[in-house]
Every structure is written in C-alpha cells, then in structure tokens.
C-alpha cells in the first residue's frame, strides 16, 4: 500500500540520510464547534515532509485541505495532536509566537492573491520584512524585495499596482512576498484556482524552478493536471489521508508550455 511505502521512504531519509523533516504532523485534528454539531474537518493526520519536497494535497471540496494548510501555516491551531515545524512544537505556541513563525519560517500564497490594493508590487513584497523581529534597514528591504520579484520574473513591474497587473502577475507578486523572508516552507492554497490553464502552467513553472533551487513547497489543489507538476500527492477524504504517493510521469512546465504554444499555432494555421 502507498502509505506503507511512504513510511519506508521516511525511515530511510531519517536514519540513513540523516535529514529531519521540515514538517512532522502527529495525529493532527481540527474540530469546529459551530452551534449544535461539531464539524470534524481534520481527523487524525500523520505526515512527514522533508526538505526539498514538492507536495500536492488533493481531495474533493470540504475534505479538509484548507483546514490542514492553515494549521501547517500557523494561521490556525489544531484541536488535537502535535505539529513540529523545523523541530519546534507549533501546536503549543501562543499568538505572538505563531505570528513570528509565520513571519520567519512560512511563506503563504492564497487563491485570491491577497495583495494590498493601491500599493506597489515592491511595497507588497517588502511588507513581511516590516514585521521581522530583527530590524532590516529600509534600503536592504528594498533590495531584497526587488531580488524576490526578479526571482519570479517580475523585476520590471516592481512599481506597478495590483490593478495594473494580470492575475498571473499578481500571483507572482504574492509568491515573491512569500519568499522574501527566506522561509523554510512555501505554502499555497489553490494558487491556480483563479487562473486560466496557461497561466496556471506558468505559475507551476515558477514553483518547479523554486523547488529545483531547494525550496520545500506544499500546495493544495483539486486539479489533477496541476498536481502532476509536483513530486508527491497526498489525497484527503473526510479529513483523513486516503493515499500518499510519489507522482509518476511528472509534468514539466517548460515542456507543457511549449506544447501549448504549438497547439495554439496549429489552431491558428488551421483557421
């Protein structure tokens, strides 16, 4: 079974390569108490994710993907179980400590981009550095934000406001913002949910490039096409892990884009 094979991989990584997991979830639970009924959104998930992995979390709507991601992203606290991030037990931290974890260790990318409107791309990317516990000189903030934008291919658009950018470009700004504090982990909750298929592939290209540079990425999606760009797929159902396996025949964004362009060319020639 897939779960068993994964457990073997974990053991090999832990004892023979001597890498510690970035994320270690131990029987994580989340129960919402809303009115009469309790909603068990996540019911006991155990999961290890190691540095350099690129994981897709899949599942139908309401299967608990966002709830799980919010807990991994230190935006929310589990109601049961334990969660270690870089060896720190996050499930016991208080509000301020969680804020610091979000600031230093996690970059979050949302489906709706969540950029500040009427604020330039550069200033949006600078924002997380304003909340660093160590002072970052405003000059350095500028340089780092600019570098981060260049990393996602938006260097020349630094002074554009979100309403002057396409959806794909806005999502790149959000990725640049997520990366600017050099987090151990990049989290993305349906990052391509609001984008057309070609732009989605471009964003997956950005993720693959970042992952090749060693950044650990966890991404929620319900589209198999998108998940195929990752290295590992975890499928949830009713708040539990259904399957957890490596991606076979992984898609490569550059090739997919090339293919897409050729198809468009063919359509043009035909008409």
């Amino acid at each position: 079974m897939a779960g068993v094979s994964r457990a073997v991989v974990d053991l090999i990584l832990k004892y023979f390569v001597q890498t510690n997991p970035v994320i270690k979830l131990d029987a994580i639970q989340k129960t919402y108490h809303t009115g009469e009924v309790d909603v068990h959104a996540v019911r006991g998930i155990t999961l290890n994710i190691f540095p350099g992995e690129f994981v897709a979390i899949m599942g139908s709507s309401g299967s608990g993907k966002s709830t799980l991601m919010n807990m991994i992203g230190a935006l929310d606290r589990p109601t049961g179980g334990h969660y270690w991030l870089d060896g720190i037990d996050v499930s016991t931290l208080d509000r301020d400590a969680l804020a610091d974890v979000r600031n230093e260790k996690i970059g979050f990318v949302f489906q709706g981009f969540n950029l500040l409107s009427r604020t330039s791309a550069l200033e949006n990317v600078e924002m997380p550095m304003q909340y660093n516990r160590q002072r970052i000189h405003s000059h350095e903030q500028r340089t780092r934000a600019q570098q981060s934008l260049e990393l996602v291919g938006l260097g020349p658009r630094a002074d554009h406001h979100p309403n002057q950018l396409s959806g794909g470009q806005q999502q790149r700004v959000a990725i640049a913002r997520a990366l600017v504090n050099k987090p151990s982990l990049l989290l993305a909750d349906e990052p391509t949910g609001n984008l057309d298929s070609q732009t989605s592939i471009e964003i997956m290209g950005v993720f693959q490039k970042l992952n090749d540079q060693g950044i650990t990425i966890i991404m929620v999606t319900h589209e198999l096409d998108v998940a195929r760009f990752t290295k590992r797929m975890v499928i949830l159902r009713d708040g539990k892990i259904l399957t957890d396996e490596a991606v076979q025949n992984r898609s490569v964004a550059d090739k997919e884009l090339q293919r897409l362009r050729q198809e468009q060319q063919a359509v043009k020639l035909a008409s």
Binding site: R95, L116, Q130
Partner: protein, 401 residues
Amino acid sequence: MRIIASLKIASRALRRNKMRSLLTMLGVIIGVGAVIGAVSLTSGATKQVEDQVSNLGENVITVFSGNFTTGGMRGGWGSAPTLTLEDTAAIRLLPHVVAISPEVRDRAQVLANGLNWNTQVLGESPDYPQIRNWDIASGSMFSDQDVRTLAKAAVIGKTVADQLFPNENPVGLTIRIRNLPFQIVGVLAAKGFNLFGQDQDDVVIVPYSSHMHRITTRTFVNSIQVQAENDKVISLVQQEITDLLLARHRSKEQDFTVRSQLELMQTVTATSRAMGFLLAGVAAVSLVVGGIGIMNIMLVSVTERTREIGIRMAVGARAADILVQFLIEAVTLSAIGGAIGIAGGVGFSRLVAYLKDMPTVTPVIWIVIAVVSSAVIGIISGFYPAWKASKLDPIDALRYE
C-alpha cells in the same frame, strides 16, 4: 514593529482617503481652532488691562483724603482737608515703605514761548517717578533740596512739552505757572492714556512745597502715594497706614481711604481666570466631540480593512503591531487636526486683531494644552478600534469579504 514603518503605513492610509481624513479631523480642527482663537483674543484683552494697571506704578498704595462711604463728605476722594505733610512723614517711617509722595493737585494756565496751555499742575516729592514707574526722557527730576528751598523747578509731561515747545528741548527753559517763572529741569517719557482715558502726559510736576506755598496756599494734601517694598506686603502696609492714620486723626469716623493697585489687579485676574475656566470647558467639550468623530471613522476603517489586517497577520504581524498601526493612525489624524486648529486659531485671532485693532496674545501653555489634548484624544478614541483590529483572528480576517 518600528514606529517609522507604522507612521509610513498610517500616512499612506490617510492620504488614500484625503477627503475623509480631512472631514474626520474637522471636529478637532474646529475645537482646537475655536479655543486657541478665543484664548488669544481674551488673553490679549486681559494683558492690555494688566499693562494699564501696572502702568499706574508698581506696588502702589494711594491714601485719599475723605472717606467715600462717609455721608457728609460728598466732594469725592482727595477733596477733604484731612491729610497733612505730618501724616506723610509718619507713614514714611513705617516698615516696608520704600518711597512716598504727598500729592497736591490743581489746574492752571501755563505759559511759555508766547504760547499757553491749560494743564494739570501736580505737587509731588522727588520719589514720584519711581513710584509711578515713570522714566525721565531728558533732564532729571527735581531734588529734595528743591523741596526744602521751595524751588521754582518743574518737570513737564510729553503733551505739555509738545504744546509749548514744539521745536526745541525744553530742559533749562522757563515756564510760567500763575505768572511765576519755573525752570524746567526734566521732561517725562510718554506714558499714554490711563484706564479712564485721561492723557497722563498732560501734566506739570513741581515740588509739593513750592505748590503749597507759591502756586496755591494749602496746608492739606489731596492724597499720598506710597510704594511698598513688594507685592506681598501691600495688604500689611495698607493696614498699618490705616491704623496709623486712625490713631493720628483721632476721629470717630475714618476720614481717609486707602486703596492699592493690587485690588484692581486681583479683579482683572479673577475675570481672566473665570474666562479661562469657561474656555477650558468649551475645549473639553469640542475635543470630546472631535474624538467621537475619530473613533467613528477608525471603526469604519478597521471594518473596511479587515482583509488588510488578515494579510498583515498572515505574513507575521503580531497583535501589538496591528494595535500600534491603528493607534498611530488615530493619533496622526488628531495631531494633524490639532496642528491645523492651532494655526487656524492663531490666524483667526490675528485677523480679528488686525481688523478690530485689538491686541492678541497666544499663551504657549494653551498651545501645549492643545497639542497634548489632541494627542490624548487620538489615543483614547483610537484605542478601542485598534484593539478590536488587533483581536481579529487571521483566518476570519482573510476570509472577510
């Protein structure tokens, strides 16, 4: 988070909604402006009165002959023949009396240069300029020697000098009073009008002895001007003079009146203090109104920017960072409002002062009060909205539509 970064965020948020920010500040602007304007104008008026009071001389006690409250004496102060030079000498010996001048008054036609002028002729001692805090512009005051020898020496006021000697320095020249030639030894500096609108410079001053023997033939003085050592002993000296004169005159009824400039001053300061309380009340009310306006808008702003708060929390803002950000926004609003209010109030009072020819003074303390209270209003009215913002749950805030 650093204050500078918060200030930047605040100023951007306020600039984004310029019209709303201005309207929000309006309460504080009008409140502070009205108070500063009113304070400036009333302080100006108060200062003008105070200046005129101190123009009368410092720590001066005046003893008038006759008692205003006595039924029989209807001639007014200084008209009854009750005060003598002996009384003056006795008062001089009291402790805390530093200068004294018996005063005799008369009106006379004076001549010089073929010109003539009707003016007040006073008989005084050489202490008089010191008591009245009055400078000699040129020449000098007559001396004690002049008093002893009934010298025909005179010191004249600015108005008399201008009328009789339009083109020359009168010092050393002669003026004729009741046909007697007096030598002018000094000219007094201009003093202007007194509280009752009389021209104080329209005067000729001669030694009291000369006045009493040569110009008039009197044995009584109209009043005695006494200068006390300092303002703390004025009441004491007043009492001593009263006791002394009662003993000396041995009359059943008090036939003199002792008044001090302190009493006048106290009336003035009491009035201005009452005015100050009134203004402080107006200030408090208008600042509370301004504060409510700020709180209202800050609450709207927090709701509108719930998503922004969520985003900031998602990237690592602590509750305190959010609190400080909104507090600074509120304080910036009220501080700018206060500053505009101060400028407007000062400008308004200057304009009124210019148009109505009134004095205006803006006391620094009121500017400090305005600055401090608008900052305090900002903190108080901003605190609840800021606290509300900081207590938001990051996920709820991010989901907010």
